[in-house]
């Protein structure tokens, strides 16, 4: 009888544990995978642009400060973006040669931010509009940008800026495309994973093409 009760109690305990099982926690979800989020301005036609220029280093925005880096990893990241742009028929030119598109690249490594408003990193050591020759301009999303509640996990941000129509846009540098690669700081992903996900950013936006 005692054995029976013990067995019954064990079965009941296991059943109870199963009955309370829920989805995997945030940490294991983060470790699984890099997530790619892109959004483009549905009101624009990307074939109107023919040339582009890209920043000369990657902005790293962290808790207290920011810096611009051009180590091998940053260079690999920039090269991957350049390669994808050229594959879509855009010609790379110097930033002084009046490019149609400018590309900003940043990595956000903030660990203690729980809330963020779109574009806050512009005041945080990101590329100044002056870099593109428009010191009095502001960056502007012509659509509601993807909502991001926290960058605590590490994010690559790629912004594609419309320089061609800047004078017609009322002191605003329209960001025609934003791409986010998230989950860099979990320690589970390699540089190659990041580069593969740069390809994914372009793959999920076939609208970006010069012809």
């Amino acid at each position: 009888m005692k054995k029976k009760i013990k067995l019954l109690a064990m079965v009941a305990a296991v059943m109870f544990m199963i009955s309370c099982a829920t989805y995997p926690g945030m940490d294991s979800r983060l470790a699984e995978d890099l997530v790619v989020i892109t959004k483009y301005d549905v009101g624009t036609n990307f074939t109107q642009y023919k040339t582009f220029s890209i920043v000369d280093s990657v902005s790293v925005i962290s808790d207290r400060d920011s810096s611009k880096i051009l180590d091998a990893q940053a260079q690999a990241l920039l090269n991957q973006i350049i390669g994808n742009m050229q594959a879509r028929g855009y010609q790379k030119v110097n930033r002084t040669a009046k490019p149609d598109l400018g590309i900003n690249v940043g990595v956000v490594k903030i660990t203690n931010v729980t809330y963020y408003y779109p574009g806050w990193y512009w005041d945080n050591g990101y590329y100044n509009p002056a870099y593109w020759g428009y010191p009095s301009y502001n960056y502007w999303y012509p659509y509601y940008p993807p909502a991001v509640s926290t960058y605590s996990t590490g994010t690559v941000i790629i912004d594609m800026v419309d320089l061609k129509n800047a004078p017609a846009h009322n002191n605003k540098l329209y960001i025609e495309w934003i791409a986010l690669i998230r989950g860099l700081m979990t320690g589970y992903h390699t540089l190659q994973d990041v580069l593969d996900n740069v390809d994914q950013c372009f793959a999920q936006t076939p609208q970006i093409r010069a012809n």
Partner: protein, 215 residues
């Protein structure tokens, strides 16, 4: 005085004994039941479109009181977790948005109900029954990617017919097992995007539980 007191006590004791004997004589017939069950949940219809996975993560607790032989009323409180992992894929929103990643859908359903039940053979060891319960369903629906968690919570009206059988462990035992199947639906509806909208959740619950009987 002492005599009167003693006779009152004696009378009381006698009454209790007689009542106990009457109850004992009634054998299998319970006056009330409390059951804790493990639940296997199967989503149907619109709910199945949101999460098409069978969930072993559920349970419920019921109490039932017999009004007269065979007819009982009672309450039910339950919970069910459903989740499904979707492989890495790209999802397109209608506004230029595209997201690539591993997705999870998750739903938590908590019914609070009252019901009426009819037991066909209350004086037999195995007692099949039918029932109908209704009340409110608290429900959460989540879509999750990494630490993003897009969700709705709501309350809706719920109703569920039930078929089951109560098996008593002995003629005078306080314990028994309860096995039942419930179909349920509720009036909850939710929308994530223009494409992903769901209304009127439905499902099937299979319950296996341990029952405590009072006579």
């Amino acid at each position: 005085m002492k005599k009167i007191f003693l006779s009152i006590i004696a009378a009381l004791l006698l009454t209790v004994t007689v009542q106990a004997q009457e109850k004992a004589a009634s054998g299998y017939n319970p006056t009330s039941l409390y059951t804790l069950s493990w639940t296997l949940g199967v989503p149907l219809g619109s709910f199945n479109n949101f999460i098409n996975t069978v969930s072993p993560a559920g349970g419920n607790f019921t109490g039932r009181y017999f009004l007269k032989k065979g007819l009982a009323v009672g309450f039910e409180f339950g919970w069910n977790n459903y989740y499904k992992k979707y492989p890495r894929n790209t999802y397109y929103g209608g506004d230029g948005l595209a997201v690539t990643g591993i997705f999870y859908t998750y739903s938590f359903v908590v019914p609070w109900k009252v019901g009426a039940y009819y037991y066909f053979m209350p004086s037999a060891i195995a007692d099949p029954y039918v029932g109908l319960s209704f009340g409110g369903d608290y429900m959460e629906e989540h879509i999750m990617v990494q630490e993003y968690d897009i969700y709705n919570t709501q309350w809706g009206f719920t109703m569920s017919p039930e078929l089951g059988v109560l098996i008593k462990f002995g003629k005078y035992s306080h314990w028994g097992a309860n096995v039942s199947a419930q179909y349920w639906f509720n009036t909850n509806s939710f929308t994530f995007t223009d494409v992903d909208s769901y209304s009127t959740m439905q499902g099937l619950n299979f319950n296996v539980g341990l029952t405590y009987l009072l006579r």
